[in-house]
C-alpha cells in the first residue's frame, strides 16, 4: 500500500531519533585507546640536553597533555590543570606541539607550569603518532604504557573531577 510508506519511514526515523537522544555525538573514541602509547624520545622545552622517553615512564600512571603557546583554548584549560596538579599527586607530561622554545617558555612563565616535564615537539612528529588533530588533547597512560583515555578539547572542571580523578584512582590501584 503506497499510501502507508510515508508513515512507515517516519516510524523508523523516530526509532533512530529516540536512540540518538541518549548518545553524545561529541564522544569520539580514539583508535589508540587500549593500545600502547607510541614511542617517543623528546627534549624538554627548558633544556634541549635533557630528554624524556616513553619507556622511562613505564610503571607510572601519567597524562600527556598536548598544548601550544599559540593555542587559544589551552589558555582556558591551563589554569585548571595547574590547580589540578597542585591538589592531586599526578604526573603530567606536556607535549608542546609545533611551537618555539622562547614562546613556550614565556607562556609557562606567565600561566604556570603544571608539567613534570614539558616535552618539545617542534615538528609535531610525536603529536602525529598520537593522532592529535586539535590542540588541546590529553591522553591518560597506565602503568603498562597503555593509553586508557583521551580527552578531546580542553578539560572542564566537571571532566577533571568526574572522569579523570576516578580514572586515575583506578589506574593507580592497578599493578
Amino acid at each position: 500500500m503506497s499510501r502507508f510508506w510515508p508513515l512507515a519511514v517516519f516510524v523508523a526515523l523516530v526509532g533512530f531519533l529516540y536512540v540518538g537522544l541518549y548518545r553524545d555525538p561529541r564522544e569520539v573514541p580514539s583508535p589508540l585507546i587500549g593500545k600502547p602509547a607510541p614511542q617517543f624520545q623528546l627534549p624538554t622545552v627548558d633544556n634541549p640536553a635533557k630528554t624524556v622517553t616513553r619507556d622511562a615512564m613505564l610503571g607510572h600512571v601519567y597524562l600527556v597533555n598536548v598544548w601550544a603557546s599559540w593555542c587559544v583554548s589551552c589558555r582556558e584549560e591551563h589554569p585548571l590543570l595547574v590547580e589540578f596538579a597542585r591538589q592531586h599527586p599526578v604526573e603530567i607530561l606536556g607535549l608542546d606541539y609545533k611551537d618555539t622554545r622562547p614562546e613556550a617558555m614565556a607562556w609557562l612563565g606567565q600561566f604556570g607550569n603544571p608539567y613534570q616535564s614539558a616535552l618539545f615537539d617542534a615538528d609535531g612528529r610525536v603529536g602525529i603518532d598520537f593522532g592529535v588533530y586539535g590542540v588541546p588533547e590529553t591522553f591518560v597512560v597506565d602503568k603498562k604504557g597503555v593509553i586508557r583515555y583521551k580527552q578531546i578539547g580542553p578539560f572542564t572542571p566537571e571532566a577533571l573531577n568526574n572522569k579523570l580523578l576516578p580514572l586515575l584512582q583506578t589506574l593507580n590501584s592497578e599493578t
Binding site: R3, P6, F10, L17, G20, L21, P25, P29, E76
Partner: protein, 670 residues
C-alpha cells in the same frame, strides 16, 4: 513582576490554545456555527498574549534584569542595545518563544485574510494551528521557560555569544522562523482539507499564496544566514552543510517542490495526493529541523545546549503531529482522487520532474544529516558526513532540475509537442553552449565543472528570454506597443521569471567561486607582501584597541593593484570581555565581480601573524541570486488576482461561497 506577567500570559495562552483546538474542530464536524466562530477570536487573543509575553522578555532584557535566568545567560551590562534585542532570541528559550510568536502571527494573518474561506474549513485550519501552538506552549512552560528566575540574581550576565553579536544575526532568526513556521499554514490547510474531505482546486488556490510568502521569508532567512557565516566564521565559506543549515535547507527544498506542485493542483487539478504530502513534508521537516537543532542529537558549529528532556518532548510532539498527519493521509488518501491526465511531455510532467528532484534532494540532505546518527544508533561507529557527500549527491539532482527549469515554463499543459519545443529552444541551447565555452576560455583556464555550471546558467537565462519573447512578440494584424504587451503580463509571471533568473545568478556565483577562488594562508611580518591574482596585499602590522564589550587587535593591510593603493583593510580579532572567546571579523572588500577577503589568524612572532587572504570571484552573486528568488516570490504574491480576491472578499464579507477561479491566472501556472 514583569517576568511573572509574561509567564502568566503564556499560561493563559496555553488554556486558550486548548479551546482553539477543541471547539472549532468539533463545531466543524457537527456543523455548529457558533463553535466554529470561536476560532478567529481565539487565534487573535493567542497572538496578543504571546506578544505580551515577548514584550515582557524584551523589557527584562533591555533593563538587564539578571534575576531572570535567561537574561543572565544571554546578555550582559555592556552589551549594546541592538544586541540586547537580538539576545531575546539568542538562546534556546527565547528562540522557541520567537517561534511561537511567529506561529501566532501566522494564525492571526490567516484569521484576517480568510473571509473567502468556508467557515468549516477556517475552523479546522485554525484548530490545527492551535494544536501546534499548544505543543510549543507546553514545551516552553515545561522545559524551556524564558521567565525562570535566578535567585540570587547574577551581578552581570554571561553575555551573548560573540558569534551572534552581528547585525546579520539580528535579522536572520526572525526571517528564518517566519519561513519555517509559515509552512504551518500550508500544512494546516492540507490537514483541514483531509479532515473535511474536500481537496479541490480551491484548496490549492487558497494555500498557494501562503506557501509563497513563507517560502520567500525562508529564502531571505537562509540567504542572511549564509552571508553571516561568510563574514563572521572567518574562513570564507558561504555554506558548510552543517546540520543546522541543513535543518533550514530541507524545508526550503520541500517548500520549493510544494509551490510548483500547488500550481498544478490549482490550474489542472492534478497531483492532489502529491501536493498534500508535500505540504505535510515541508512542515514536518521544519519541525524535524527544530528537533535536530534543539535536542543536541547532532554536532554542529551552532551547537546549542542540549537537554534530553527537551529532546524527548519534541520527539513526542513530532510523533503526534507528523505521525498523526501521515496516518490521516494514509486513511484519507484514497478519497482524494486523481487529477486530470497528462502526456509524457507536458508542463505537468516537467513540474512532476521538478517535484521529484526537489523532494529527492531534500531526502538526500536528510539522509546525509542523519546518517551519522543512524550508524551510531546501530553501533556501527562514529562518522561525520561532510561536503564531499552533499556535493556529490546534490549536483546530479539539481542539474536536471535546472534543465527542466528552461523547458517547463514553455511547454503546454496536458500535451506538449517535442518537435515544437525543440524548434523554440534550439537557439537558446546553441547560444548557451557557445557562451559557456567562450566565458570559460576568457577566464583563462578551461574546466569542465565551470563550463557546465555556466552552461546551465546561460540556459536558464536564454530559455527565459525565449519564453518572454513568445509572449510579447508582435502579433501580425494587432498593433500594440511593446510596453503595453510587457505590461499585459501578470506579476506572478514576472515573479516566476525573476525567481528563475535568480537561480541562474546563484549558479554563476557558485560556479565561479568554486572554480576560480584563490585562498592563501600565509605568515606575514610587517612589510611582507603576498600576491593573489592581480592584487598585492601588504601587511603593515597589528594595532590594539577596545570596542564597547570587547578588545580587538586590528590588522592593517594595504591592497595594491599595479602599484596603486586600492583599499586599506582592517581585519579584526576580537576577544569579548565576558566569554573570553576570540572572534575573527574578516575585512571584506565587496565588488560586483569579486570579493577580497582578509582575516587575521594567530600571532606567530612578536610582529608576525598568520593571515588568510582570499580572492573570491562573483561570490556576491550567490546572495544576490537568492534575493532575486525572494523578490520573485514578492512579485508573485502581489499579483492582481490576490488583490482582486481580497477586494471581492471584503465586498462579500459574509459569503462563505468559494471564489471564482483565478482571475488573471498566470505565473508558473499558465
Amino acid at each position: 513582576m514583569i517576568p511573572e506577567i509574561g509567564n502568566l500570559a503564556l499560561v493563559l495562552c496555553l488554556i486558550l490554545s486548548m479551546v482553539q483546538i477543541v471547539v472549532p474542530i468539533a463545531g466543524a464536524q457537527t456543523g455548529n456555527r457558533a463553535w466554529m466562530a470561536m476560532a478567529r477570536p481565539a487565534a487573535r487573543a493567542q497572538f496578543a498574549l504571546v506578544v505580551l509575553a515577548f514584550a515582557c522578555l524584551v523589557i527584562s532584557m533591555l533593563g538587564s534584569d539578571f534575576s531572570v535566568k535567561y537574561v543572565a545567560e544571554t546578555s550582559s551590562r555592556l552589551l549594546p542595545v541592538q544586541y540586547k534585542i537580538a539576545a531575546v532570541w539568542g538562546g534556546h528559550e527565547g528562540s522557541i518563544l520567537l517561534w511561537l510568536l511567529m506561529l501566532t502571527f501566522w494564525m492571526t494573518a490567516v484569521s484576517v485574510f480568510s473571509r473567502h474561506l468556508p467557515e468549516a474549513m477556517l475552523a479546522r485550519i485554525l484548530g490545527v494551528m492551535g494544536f501546534i501552538s499548544f505543543g510549543f506552549l507546553l514545551f516552553i512552560l515545561l522545559t524551556s521557560n524564558p521567565f525562570e528566575r535566578l535567585i540570587p540574581a547574577a551581578l552581570d550576565g554571561q553575555d551573548l555569544n560573540p558569534l551572534l553579536q552581528d547585525p546579520g544575526m539580528v535579522a536572520h532568526p526572525p526571517m528564518l522562523y517566519m519561513g519555517y513556521v509559515g509552512f504551518s499554514v500550508a500544512f494546516a490547510f492540507a490537514i483541514a482539507a483531509l479532515l473535511g474531505g474536500d481537496l479541490d482546486a480551491a484548496w490549492a488556490r487558497w494555500s498557494r499564496p501562503w506557501t509563497t510568502v513563507a517560502w520567500t521569508f525562508l529564502t531571505v532567512g537562509i540567504c542572511l544566514g549564509s552571508a553571516w557565516a561568510y563574514y563572521t566564521l572567518g574562513w570564507g565559506g558561504w555554506w558548510f552543510w552543517d546540520p543546522v543549515e541543513n535543518a533550514s535547507f530541507m524545508p526550503w527544498l520541500m517548500g520549493t517542490a510544494l509551490m510548483h506542485s500547488l500550481a498544478v493542483t490549482e490550474k489542472r487539478g492534478g497531483f492532489k495526493v502529491w501536493t498534500v504530502l508535500l505540504a505535510i513534508f515541508a512542515f514536518s521537516l521544519s519541525l524535524l529541523g527544530t528537533f535536530l537543532v534543539r535536542s543536541g542529537v547532532l554536532t554542529s558549529v551552532h551547537a546549542f545546549a542540549s537537554d534530553p528532556r527537551r529532546g524527548v518532548f519534541i520527539l513526542i510532539f513530532l510523533v503526534v503531529v507528523i505521525g498523526g498527519s501521515l496516518g490521516l493521509f494514509a486513511w484519507r488518501a484514497p478519497k482524494v482522487g486523481l487529477g486530470g491526465r497528462f502526456g509524457m511531455v507536458s508542463r505537468e510532467s516537467m513540474l512532476l520532474g521538478n517535484n521529484v528532484l526537489f523532494a529527492a534532494a531534500a531526502g538526500s540532505v536528510l539522509l546525509g544529516t542523519l546518517y551519522p546518527l543512524f550508524l551510531d544508533a546501530l553501533g556501527l561507529g562514529k562518522i561525520s558526513v561532510g561536503p564531499p557527500y552533499f556535493d556529490t549527491v546534490f549536483v546530479p539532482l539539481m542539474a536536471p532540475a535546472l534543465f527542466l527549469m528552461g523547458v517547463g515554463p514553455i511547454s503546454r499543459w496536458k500535451e506538449a509537442s517535442l518537435p515544437d519545443l525543440r524548434i523554440r529552444l534550439q537557439w537558446a541551447a546553441a547560444i548557451s553552449v557557445v557562451m559557456a565555452v567562450v566565458l570559460t576560455f576568457i577566464k583563462g583556464s578551461f574546466s569542465f565543472a565551470v563550463a557546465f555550471g555556466l552552461l546551465l546558467a546561460c540556459w536558464i537565462v536564454t530559455s527565459a528570454a525565449v519564453n518572454l519573447w513568445g509572449r510579447i512578440r508582435p502579433v501580425p494584424g494587432v498593433s500594440t506597443s511593446l510596453f503595453s504587451r510587457l505590461g499585459g503580463q501578470s506579476r506572478s509571471y514576472y515573479g516566476m521569471l525573476a525567481a528563475h533568473l535568480g537561480v541562474a545568478v546563484f549558479v554563476v556565483g557558485v560556479t565561479m567561486v568554486k572554480g576560480y577562488e584563490i585562498e592563501k594562508d600565509v605568515q606575514m611580518d610587517i612589510g611582507d607582501t603576498v600576491a593573489i591574482g592581480p592584487y598585492t596585499f601588504r601587511f603593515n602590522g597589528v594595532s590594539e584597541g577596545a570596542g564597547p564589550n570587547y578588545q580587538y587587535q586590528r590588522g592593517n593591510v594595504d591592497v595594491l593593484r599595479d602599484g596603486a593603493l586600492v583599499r586599506n583593510m582592517g581585519p579584526e580579532k576580537r576577544t569579548y570581555l565576558v566569554q573570553r572567546n576570540p572572534m575573527t571579523n574578516a575585512a571584506i572588500d565587496s565588488g560586483f565581480l569579486r570579493d577580497l577577503y582578509v582575516s587575521l589568524g594567530e600571532p606567530v612572532g612578536p610582529t608576525s601573524w598568520t593571515v588568510r587572504v582570499y580572492f573570491k570571484p562573483f561570490v556576491d552573486w550567490i546572495w544576490f541570486g537568492c534575493l532575486m528568488m525572494a523578490f520573485g516570490g514578492v512579485l508573485a504574491i502581489s499579483d492582481k488576482r490576490y488583490r482582486i480576491e481580497k477586494r471581492k472578499a471584503r465586498a462579500a464579507a459574509a459569503a462563505s461561497a468559494a471564489m471564482p477561479a483565478g482571475v488573471a491566472g498566470a505565473g508558473v501556472a499558465e
